[in-house]
């Protein structure tokens, strides 16, 4: 029984791992193929099945005039917009989350939980509902088709995530820690920056990770709010038409586009296992 259980466990883990990794392997091998290898039937093992070529990767950095796909500019646009918006969202979101967790707000029937829900409700709405107001709003302040405009919109989209995660996190940090900091001579700002924040690094990293992921993969708003001047990576990749752009270039650009997320995942995994608050309160 024990053995069967163990077998089943590893079987399913292996199955799932293959299921998840297979498309990446497929994309990876395809990105090193040329026309003959792609059309010559299913081949997977480089140097045995097919001769690896760097053509697919070279195309990525060539200018369109030389037959390249030019994803460098959209790539850095995406990086810039995602990172800036995530950073601002985390800073603002952490501050508001701390306030929501520690202080009592009351305006008529609106209380802390209602404010928190108001933040989260921004994510509950279908994006299509938000698209027209965003479009009109950006148009009114002349920020359509600009990086700044996209950053503003992404802050609206990402900050609720940061607030949501951090409120939950701060609620788990015992209030007595802040109080001890006050008693030990910190004013409320010092208590926050010297004591609460250093103990919230795991929360900050999780919140940051979610912001980066949601910012990076967003296609909808990037598509609606930009036209010709500015292009983000998801929009660019969708625009690569497979009948014009060869499979190997598509594979290479797909891999390049998920690379940041893979790096983020590795960093996060390190941090999450390291930090914990168990020593604060037993």
């Amino acid at each position: 029984m024990e053995k069967l259980y163990k077998f089943l466990k590893y079987f399913f883990i292996t199955f799932w791992a293959v299921f998840v990794v297979a498309p990446f392997l497929w994309a990876l091998t395809t990105s090193f193929k040329d026309f003959n290898s792609v059309n010559g039937g299913a081949t997977y093992i480089p140097w045995v099945d097919f001769e690896p070529k760097l053509e697919g990767w070279r195309v990525l950095i060539k200018s369109p005039a030389n037959g390249g796909v030019d994803i460098i500019e959209p790539y850095f646009n995406s990086l810039f917009v995602t990172c800036t918006a995530s950073l601002i969202s985390i800073v603002l979101g952490t501050l508001s989350a701390y306030a929501l967790s520690r202080f009592t707000f009351k305006a008529g029937f609106v209380k802390n939980n209602d404010i928190t829900f108001f933040f989260i409700s921004q994510r509950i709405m279908p994006p299509i509902v938000l698209s027209i107001p965003f479009f009109l709003f950006l148009g009114a302040i002349n920020l359509l088709d600009s990086l700044i405009g996209l950053i503003v919109v992404y802050i609206v989209l990402l900050m609720p995530i940061a607030v949501w995660i951090m409120v939950d996190f701060f609620n788990k940090v015992p209030r007595e820690i802040d109080e001890t900091a006050l008693i030990d001579g910190c004013n409320p700002y010092q208590a926050f920056f010297k004591v609460v924040l250093p103990n919230s690094i795991p929360g900050l990293i999780v919140a940051g990770m979610f912001c980066i992921i949601f910012g990076w993969i967003d296609f909808f708003f990037a598509f609606i709010l930009t036209f010709t001047e500015v292009q983000l990576l998801p929009v660019k990749i969708v625009a690569l038409n497979s009948s014009i752009t060869p499979w190997w270039s598509l594979s290479a650009s797909a891999l390049v586009s998920v690379a940041p997320l893979i790096i983020v995942a590795f960093i996060v995994e390190r941090y999450l296992s390291k930090g914990n608050l168990s020593g604060a309160i037993k």
């Binding site: 001890t180 008693i183 030990d184 001579g185 004591v195 914990n276 608050l277 168990s278 020593g279 037993k282």
Partner: protein, 359 residues
């Protein structure tokens, strides 16, 4: 130069957490706040610390309006019952934190912190992480951190309650030593606890708090010998003092069909019906005694607590040895009425074996 509070009230919801609390604490003394859970002990400590602002009332310290001084400028120290430390700092940094905050020179911090760690028995643990320490050690770290500041007011909120029995005994001893050596004549120690034994052992002044109200304020000995009301007698004894409805008829005290001789100290009593209070330790097993039925027997440490019943009356007695009883066993007990208290119908002390009376 004292810590003076006048008419402190705090009522955040429909219940008083502090109800007209006044006191005058003198420097160089230990004060114990004794009360059951939710009696307002923590609220009172937090109010003194400045973490809570009372609805009404005043606190003065060194002739200044203390309520106008923000927490971080009050020069107080506080130890919580939940072992609060800074998890991101190691033991040394935890203890050094308040000094760094005051911008004390590194060399001096080093000396003071080491001395403080030594006094709580944590020498050699400087570089440990807080998470690696046991509960008792964590509580010592927070104690060391509160001692290092040389605070004028040291607040200890049930610091021993979350520790196991052995450690509690040990740390309680150490507290007494630390308080007697480490603290100057300039500071006030305020210790809150639910355990009457702790209050008696620290032997300072005791404030009995219940539902936010101060029931009695006086030296520990006085509280033990002459509890002002029935409620104080309950709170300041563990197990709580047994209370029996009794009356006097023809020179005998009668309760639950039991008749006993009036002891000397009650011979001048001029009330007919009253509440008779007898401590659990003043009841003993005796074959010539009165029959009671066992409801529950619990062994705690080296003594046995017997919950007994007769008619409508329930009493608890503690026996100084480990014995086994079954539920519904009949046992015979005798009352040491020389140590009996009498509370009148308003539950105020009318007579005590130590001569006190508040009627």
């Amino acid at each position: 130069m004292n810590l003076v509070a006048e008419n402190l009230c705090y009522k955040p919801d429909d219940q008083y957490h502090l109800n007209d609390v006044s006191f005058n604490f003198k420097k160089g003394n230990i004060y114990t706040i004794l009360g059951r859970t939710l009696s307002g002990k923590t609220t009172l400590l937090k109010t003194i610390a400045g973490l809570l602002t009372p609805d009404t009332g005043e606190i003065q310290f060194e002739e200044k309006d203390f309520l106008k001084v923000p927490v971080w400028e009050r020069n107080i120290a506080m130890v919580y019952q939940q072992f609060i430390n800074y998890p991101h700092l190691n033991v040394f940094e935890n203890v050094a934190f308040p000094l760094k905050q005051r911008k004390v020179k590194d060399q001096e911090i080093n000396n003071v912190v080491m001395k403080s760690l030594k006094s709580v028995g944590l020498e050699g643990y400087e570089n440990r992480k807080i998470q690696e320490l046991s509960g008792g050690q964590q509580q010592r770290v927070s104690l060391a951190r509160s001692l290092v500041k040389n605070a004028k007011i040291l607040l200890l909120d049930e610091p021993l309650v979350n520790l196991d029995y052995k450690l509690r005994e040990q740390l309680r001893e150490e507290f007494k030593n630390i308080f007697s050596q480490g603290l100057s004549e300039e500071s006030i120690v305020i210790f809150s606890t639910t355990d009457p034994k702790e209050a008696m052992e620290l032997n300072g002044e005791v404030i009995v708090l219940d539902e936010g109200k101060v029931l009695q304020f006086g030296p520990a000995k006085e509280i033990f010998e002459n509890p002002k009301t029935l409620r104080v007698a309950e709170i300041s004894n563990d197990p709580p003092m047994n209370i029996l409805k009794a009356s006097i008829e023809s020179n005998q005290i009668i309760f639950e069909g039991i008749k006993v001789q009036i002891p000397n100290h009650l011979s001048n009593l001029d009330i007919k019906n009253f509440n008779l209070g007898i401590r659990a330790s003043d009841i003993e097993l005796n074959d010539n005694g009165f029959e009671f039925e066992v409801e529950l027997a619990e062994i705690s440490g080296s003594e046995t607590l017997l919950h007994l019943k007769r008619g409508n009356s329930k009493i608890i007695t503690s026996i100084e040895e480990v014995m086994n009883f079954n539920i519904h066993d009949k046992v015979k007990i005798n009352f040491n009425t020389n140590k009996a208290y009498v509370f009148d119908e308003n539950e105020i002390l009318a007579s005590s074996p130590f001569g006190g009376s508040y009627v």
